[in-house]
């Protein structure tokens, strides 16, 4: 006997200037599945976003790529429906389903019409909870994944990325590619995929955001029907891994007129109290599009690249601060030199008041622009839960940005930035650059 349809435990009304009203309700389904909901009745569509923590990091070394392949196969048949049956049914309902795996998560999404939402969600639920893993589909999708891996063998960014992650996080799932290797993919069996399915889609790791023309009372039973048959508890997650690369340069010879460089140094945890200070700092240093120091020095003043940027990669099982630049073989050494200098300069001198103000007004002003569609907002809601940000985060996030002072930036650059610890991986035929230890 169901005593309640859905339990609405929290309702929070966000009223930040510049925002549409974002009223998040925390919904708990009759079976205990939690989700955050924004009721948006003005358009007759519903958007669901599901994040299952773990992702490709759950694969063993021998079975790497299993989670990625499994996720790709969720749309390739369920029950007695084969891939074409499933696809035809999706087309008939004009539903839009997304299936993706990253190193940290499996991400599923559904956009459906209000008019046929029950049928569309029933179909999506079957795909998620009862994938068929038909051998014929498995073989076909395996070949597609292998084709992509082969192409990566000569792709400069893919080559650089592989070399860098192996240096950053050796002997850890983060050293591997999400898609696995040609050898491991080839060897995966249907049993492996079933095991990966049970491991990767566990309800204790699920974070759910829903936006659309649906009430909390309606949502609870929907979630139970969708996900109720999934395992309740997932296997152990990998341990966090410390950043292990040392400062220096790795050159990988590749026949190309241009060199692609990626770089990294040790990172900062997402829940570190200094995270926002670093986030604002990086806006000035390298994340700032056309207004960052790296873009100004490497692109605008000297025309050495089409794009240069840095970013904070603060992830589930390990962190780093990274960046990317591509420049002609003759000029890549100069570009790297400039990046190293800018890394040092912001440590030595911090940022100016004008830079800090510009960074803050940009970051606070740009935040509401992310809320530009039901599925985008659903993704924000699931992401907030994953990162344990609290249901009032949308209202407080800009305050945290605005609270960062010049002194904070000066302190955190010295604490976290490590100009001598930057490892560059350069793929191309760079002139005047040699590998160091």
């Amino acid at each position: 006997m169901i005593r309640f349809i859905a339990l609405v435990s929290t309702v929070i009304l966000i009223a930040v200037p510049g925002f549409a009203e974002v009223k998040i309700q925390e919904v708990t389904s009759p079976k205990g599945i939690k989700a955050w909901l924004v009721n948006e009745p003005s358009i007759p569509i519903l958007a669901f976003d599901f994040i299952f923590k773990g992702g490709a990091s759950l694969d063993s070394d021998e079975k790497q790529g299993a989670t990625y392949l499994m996720t790709g196969l969720l749309e390739e048949g369920t029950g007695d429906m084969d891939a074409a049956d499933f696809s035809r049914a999706t087309e008939s309902l004009a539903a839009r389903f997304g299936f993706d795996a990253t190193r940290d998560s499996v991400n599923l999404s559904a956009e459906v019409l209000k008019s046929n939402a029950p049928e569309a969600l029933a179909l999506f639920g079957k795909a998620i909870t009862a994938p068929a893993f038909n051998q014929v589909a498995v073989d076909r999708v395996k070949n597609q994944v292998i084709s992509g891996l082969k192409s990566d063998e000569t792709d400069p960014s893919a080559i650089a990325s592989k070399a860098l992650r192996e240096q950053m996080f050796p002997d850890h799932p983060y050293a591997r590619g999400v898609e696995g290797t040609i050898e491991t993919i080839t060897a995966l069996t249907t049993d492996d995929l079933r095991a990966a399915h049970q491991a990767a889609l566990a309800l204790d790791r699920a974070f759910i955001g829903v936006v659309g023309d649906v009430t909390a009372e309606e949502l609870g039973p929907m979630l139970d029907a969708l996900l109720g048959d999934l395992p309740t508890v997932g296997p152990p997650l990998p341990a966090r891994k410390a950043f292990s690369a040392t400062g220096g340069i790795t050159v990988i010879d590749h026949d190309s007129p241009q060199s692609q460089a990626l770089w990294a140094q040790k990172g900062i945890e997402r829940d570190d109290p200094d995270f926002f200070a670093m986030y604002v700092m990086n806006r000035v240093l390298g994340a700032g599009g056309f207004t960052s120091r790296l873009t100004e020095e490497v692109r605008e003043k000297r025309g050495l690249t089409y794009g240069v940027y840095s970013y904070l990669a603060s992830a589930e099982f390990g962190d780093y601060i990274g960046g990317s630049v591509a420049s002609g073989n003759e000029t890549i050494a100069q570009a790297i030199d400039l990046i190293q200098s800018e890394w040092q300069r912001i440590v030595d001198d911090g940022v100016t008041d004008a830079e800090l103000d510009a960074a803050k007004t940009y970051l606070t002003g740009a935040y509401p622009l992310r809320f530009d569609g039901n599925s985008q907002i659903a993704g924000i809601l699931s992401g907030m839960q994953w990162q344990n940000l609290g249901i009032d985060y949308i209202a407080t996030r800009n305050d945290q940005v605005n609270a960062v002072t010049r002194e904070d930036v000066a302190r955190v650059t010295k604490k976290f930035l490590d100009p001598d610890g930057l490892r560059f991986v350069v793929v191309g035929k760079p002139v005047g650059l040699d590998s160091t230890k």
Binding site: I43, A83, L113, Q144, S147, S151, G289, F290, T291, A326
Partner: protein
């Protein structure tokens, strides 16, 4: 980043059908100086998308000056009489806005997404750079190096992109669509400040521009703001008519093999000459859109997918593609990626057999019905995609279509019959109008 080129090979299931806000939410006006404007209301969030589109693209360049439209687009972020170089982007960023620009064969566009109350500022800045651009050699030369690096990143480092350029050059014998949007490297290297300014003065004027504003705005207010900021710009009476050299009759099928040692996954691709969406005459293009979906839309439910990938297991991936938004006649394409162990000779033969089989079998009525369901749904989904809707209006209005054409498009798609589709299919599959290409690491091993 600045200067996103439109991919030459666009395959997107939903794009052909999408999308427009319901007619009631779209209003239009034209200023006395000829600036046309489209306003799309969406009051769900206090955000606005502000776009200015120019009716000029890479296909309007002078011979020998390939890449100038795109290079100029980069240079529009330099200074004006009133602004220092780079100040434009700084002001947008300081107001929390995102911005970018893009160049295609038929248009060049600039946009910002920002809090709705900053719309007047966006108009002020965009109007300023419509006619007030100021360029120095010190700014132009490094930016040309940026474009060279952009070409290195996008094209030279990517055999698939080089192959696409090569096929395109073969596809258009005389029409400038055969010239890459970013420009040939040897011509980019010679583009000058004077080239950029001449192109700018020729084409950047209010009567060659379309303003698209989408978001939390009131159309009357937009009109009055547009009058304030854009109204005093001076129209040009020397904008060239957009008549490009056209192609001679196609007399022989072209077949080409592109070898690059970096290729790890060979494939075969073919394009056929095809008509575009024309103002007041979109039926044939609508039939081709649906035909592309039936033939090679979904990997597993389309005719090619069913036969080549699922039944014969000779392709890993295959598709048909067609985008009818184009000022001049365009192309309809198909491609197939071989399954392991399958040579391109066999794959191409089977691709031909598949096309013949489609023409023999005809339209699957159930499949067509499903596609029309998706067309209807795309009208609802489009309500949740403000900037996508804005983009579609800008793209259409700079490619020879009218607002009415955009708004009529869904009903034209709905009205297409199986007979229309077969007629369009039979007309487009003229092998003499086609270019077939193989992308391989070396010719022998790929056969």
């Amino acid at each position: 980043m600045r200067a996103l080129l439109k991919p030459l090979l666009t395959i997107c299931l939903f794009a052909p059908f999408a999308a427009y806000a319901k007619t009631g939410d779209v209003t239009t006006f034209t200023l006395n100086n000829g600036l046309e404007a489209v306003v799309i209301e969406d009051h769900r969030a206090p955000v606005v998308t502000h776009m200015v589109w120019y009716r000029v693209g890479a296909a309007d360049e002078k011979l020998g000056k390939s890449g100038i439209a795109h290079f100029l687009e980069h240079l529009l972020f330099k200074g004006t009489d009133k602004m220092e170089a780079g100040e434009f982007s700084q002001i947008i960023a300081a107001n929390g806005g995102s911005e970018n620009a893009f160049t295609s064969r038929d248009y060049t566009g600039y946009y910002q997404r920002i809090a709705a109350d900053r719309l007047p500022l966006m108009m002020q800045l965009e109007a300023d750079r419509m006619q007030g651009l100021k360029l120095t050699e010190e700014e132009v030369l490094p930016e040309r190096d940026v474009v060279i690096e952009e070409r290195n990143s996008r094209t030279e480092s990517n055999p698939g992109a080089l192959f696409s350029e090569h096929r395109n050059a073969l596809m258009y014998d005389n029409h400038p669509y055969g010239i890459p949007i970013i420009g040939w490297m040897h011509e980019i290297k010679n583009l000058s400040r004077e080239d950029a300014l001449e192109f700018y003065k020729t084409y950047y004027a209010p009567n060659n521009a379309i303003l698209v504003v989408a978001g939390d705005v009131d159309p009357e207010q937009v009109k009055s703001l547009a009058q304030t900021h854009y109204g005093s710009l001076i129209p040009s009476d020397t904008i060239p008519e957009r008549v490009r050299p056209s192609d001679p009759p196609n007399r022989a099928a072209v077949h080409t093999v592109f070898e690059d040692p970096r290729v790890r996954q060979p494939y075969v691709i073919r394009t056929y000459a095809a008509p575009q969406r024309k103002a007041g005459d979109q039926k044939q293009a609508a039939a081709l859109v649906l035909f592309a979906e039936l033939l090679g839309g979904s990997g597993v439910t389309s005719f090619m997918g069913q036969r080549m990938q699922l039944e014969q297991k000779i392709s890993l991936n295959q598709a048909a593609f067609y985008d009818g938004v184009s000022l001049d006649p365009t192309s309809f394409g198909i491609y197939a990626v071989p399954a392991p162990g399958v040579g391109l000779t066999k794959l191409e033969a089977e691709m031909d057999a598949t096309l013949a089989a489609f023409l023999e079998t005809g339209v699957d009525a159930d499949h067509l019905a499903r596609l029309k369901t998706q067309v209807s749904a795309s009208e609802i989904y489009a309500l949740d995609d403000q900037s996508g809707t804005a983009r579609r209006y800008g793209e259409a209005l700079t490619s020879g279509l009218t607002i009415k054409d955009v708004q009529d498009w869904p009903s034209i798609l709905q009205s297409v019959t199986a007979e229309d589709i077969m007629a369009a299919a039979n007309a487009v599959f003229d092998i003499k109008s086609s270019v077939t290409g193989w992308l391989v690491s070396d010719k022998e091993s790929a056969k």
